[in-house]
Symmetry: C2
Subunit: 410 residues, 2 copies
DNA sequence: TCGCGTCGTGTTTACGTAAACATCGTCCGG
DNA sequence: CCGGACGATGTTTACGTAAACACGACGCGA
């Protein structure tokens, strides 16, 4: 796997290779995997085997006598204390800025610390205090704009509160992997967990979720069991559809996200409900998978649909695919067909034409996640059921216009 | 329009109504505390408030007295051992799947674990083993495609090796913040660090980097001091420019990334060098900042430039801005002007027209980061100077064509 | 039958830190 | 001039885990 892509790319890169396709652009083609895994995946029942390795009783613990001068280079308080000629407790006091240490002594200790390059051992500290000041984040992928922006917001706000973020990625969303992630989480240096994951999988996990763990879930309807924070998907979809109806379109087509996605389902449901409550016909939704490619495919189909004057894509990437398909087929946007996306990724303002889309406030989602999870930690409570919805807003740009033939064309 | 989400972050950073105040968290006595802070007496110490706050008097022992049912119900091996009627060492053996425990006993222990909901305490484990199986990642932002994809790859590969990833975001790249991040890192539960950061800042940090820490740096030319892994920026830029020259364009314009970016500098330098070595005139580069907006601005300027038939944008977002500007100004791409981007973000295949661009293998970058850092950990060596470049490839789509008036139009 | 290896468990100890408690001066008011 | 308060520092202990060693029981070959 590793080697593959070098020459593979090399070729693709050959100039004049004609009309390259995005075959490779789209997916890195799962090629990669771990170079070499150390041990066998624990067959046993319980614990997933320590990475450091199992049984071979050889010398893992270098201990003291490692040849070559390099040994336990870890400096402890005791070392500092000895050098400074004080007790380790005094070193502790200095290290933590506690009062009650005379300046001269403090200075000596600081000097010793500097000389030895002392750094406090956070494992010991965590052991002592019973907490890590770290929040775990379990997710499938950072590839989507939404996820990465949410994670960033989480990391930022958590940092502001003195917490770090530990990422547990799940490459393939099989149940086993998810369970594994939770298990690992349990052993991990983490005080609480934020899960950015599809509810479908979450269902099966409930049992495994260690009872004492604080959890907040994003993008899911598990509100009856966990604290959930999410963008108000339905609200956003409603805005999009209403906007198009208000422009005089008779109805609105929809390109969905993958059916495994809770967010996609919500948007589709709200799209349908909005049309129905307005008494409009509900066209068959076109299936997509979040990718521009799937949007493109849907666009090719819709370009041939005579009555289609308005499309709501479940995200901006698919809207982009639509735009390109319509452009290729000579359907003018927004002259003949209006398009609305979802997410408001930064690029959408520069599509051709600039995309009207539903803005998601990922930063706010991240902030609320952190707030909730910290509240749980501080209260000592477990996850409190409930759903916290972050409102959306519609950003009107130039991919939407009054329906063709509408007298009201300004 | 685009302004909408621009300042989210600003807002996001604003603390809410003062709920938690962690300013006191630091050192009450000012910032004398830390050794790793050689010169700077920075006051805002990193140490967050200790959890052990005077909650309910001195009952932190949690052992027996349960005032309100709410306590640290942390279950230890000893608890399990007592319930199972064995010693804690036996519990340990079961927990780690070590051999030498008779089945009946093991079963009893497992039952006890289940009943009590036992989870191993990773702090204690880390203390015992002297390592966390965690890699820290310091970065500015996940917003850019490159960063988030690299981080994802890092997380994935690290996970495959049994390591988790801890994210330390730096919202504003001031020196203080960076120093703070490093300091915090030092205290964090981390075995090594990967830095995704601009070299300019890194320079000033050298002193602060705790000596024993393993480091790998991405996107920088610090190869003389640290292990560096990066995309071969120069190689990519060269491919882009050569491609355009091969198509018969007399020269190539360039829209740069921000001057603070090492990658942007590399690309600009290689662009210039390639033109010069081909004996072509070198137009004044147009400044950009990675955003589609800046590309758009550059595009408006270039649309009026008569001799301009080919543009190399330092990333795909800016190329997108170019495309839109040219489209608005009625300049046909690729008929009149060819455009090449950099990154090969998934959407670029669906731009109008599909973008010819330089593909970056972020996954490979992430993988090599992990490989390097693990090698360091295992060898016990510190960062070994050296630069590991990941090759790029050119993905030719439809935004480039032979120069207008070129007889050689095949 | 004995001695010795082996197997299943228990006991001791160390990891680095910091709260709680102990100790030893010193200074001050009575 | 003495007793006690207080300030600076040392000593003990516990946090949870697991390696290292200890120990008893059992089996097997001599």
């Amino acid at each position: 796997m590793g080697a593959v892509n070098r020459d593979d790319r090399e070729q693709a890169g050959t100039p004049n290779s004609g009309d390259t396709r995005r075959e490779q652009a789209g997916t890195p083609s799962g090629g990669d995997t771990h170079p070499e895994r150390p041990g066998t995946p624990s067959s046993g029942d319980t614990r997933p085997e320590r990475p450091g390795t199992p049984i071979s009783g050889s010398a893992r613990r270098g201990g003291s006598d490692i040849p070559g001068g390099r040994r336990k280079q870890r400096v402890s308080m005791a070392d500092v204390a000895k050098l400074a000629g004080v007790s380790s407790q005094t070193v502790s006091r200095v290290s933590n800025g506690h009062p009650g240490v005379i300046d001269a002594t403090r200075e000596q200790v600081l000097a010793a610390m500097r000389e030895l390059g002392y750094r406090p051992n956070s494992a010991a500290r965590a052991l002592r205090y019973g907490q890590f000041n770290t929040i775990g984040v379990i997710l499938f992928s950072l590839a989507s704009t939404g996820n990465s922006r949410t994670v960033e917001a989480i990391a930022t706000h958590a940092a502001a509160e003195g917490y770090a973020i530990t990422l547990i990625p799940i490459d393939v969303p099989t149940q086993d992997n998810v369970l594994g992630a939770f298990t690992r989480m349990g052993e991990l240096a983490v005080d609480a967990v934020i899960v950015i994951i599809e509810i479908h999988l979450l269902d099966t996990i409930t049992v495994t979720l260690p009872p004492g763990v604080h959890v907040v879930v994003v993008d899911s309807d598990a509100g009856d069991r966990y604290s959930v924070v999410d963008t108000d998907q339905a609200d956003g979809a409603r805005r999009a559809v209403r906007h198009l109806l208000d422009l005089g379109h008779r109805t609105v087509w929809h390109v969905t996200g993958p059916h495994t996605s809770y967010a996609a389902q919500s948007r589709a449901r709200a799209w349908r409900a909005t049309l129905e409550s307005a008494g409009r016909p509900v066209p068959e939704p076109l299936p997509g998978d979040w990718s521009a490619e799937s949007g493109y495919a849907a666009g090719l189909a819709l370009a041939g649909e005579p009555g289609c004057t308005a499309v709501f894509a479940a995200n901006d990437q698919m809207a982009l695919g639509l735009l390109r398909a319509f452009h290729e087929r000579g359907r003018d946007v927004p002259g003949e067909i209006s398009v609305v996306g979802f997410d408001d990724i930064p690029e959408s303002a520069y599509f051709v034409p600039p995309l009207t889309t539903v803005h998601q406030d990922f930063a706010e989602v991240g902030r609320r996640c952190v707030r909730q999870v910290l509240a749980q930690i501080r209260d000592g409570q477990s996850s409190r059921p409930g759903t916290d919805l972050v409102p959306t807003s519609l950003v009107v740009r130039r991919s939407t216009a009054p329906a063709p033939g509408t007298g009201s064309a300004s």
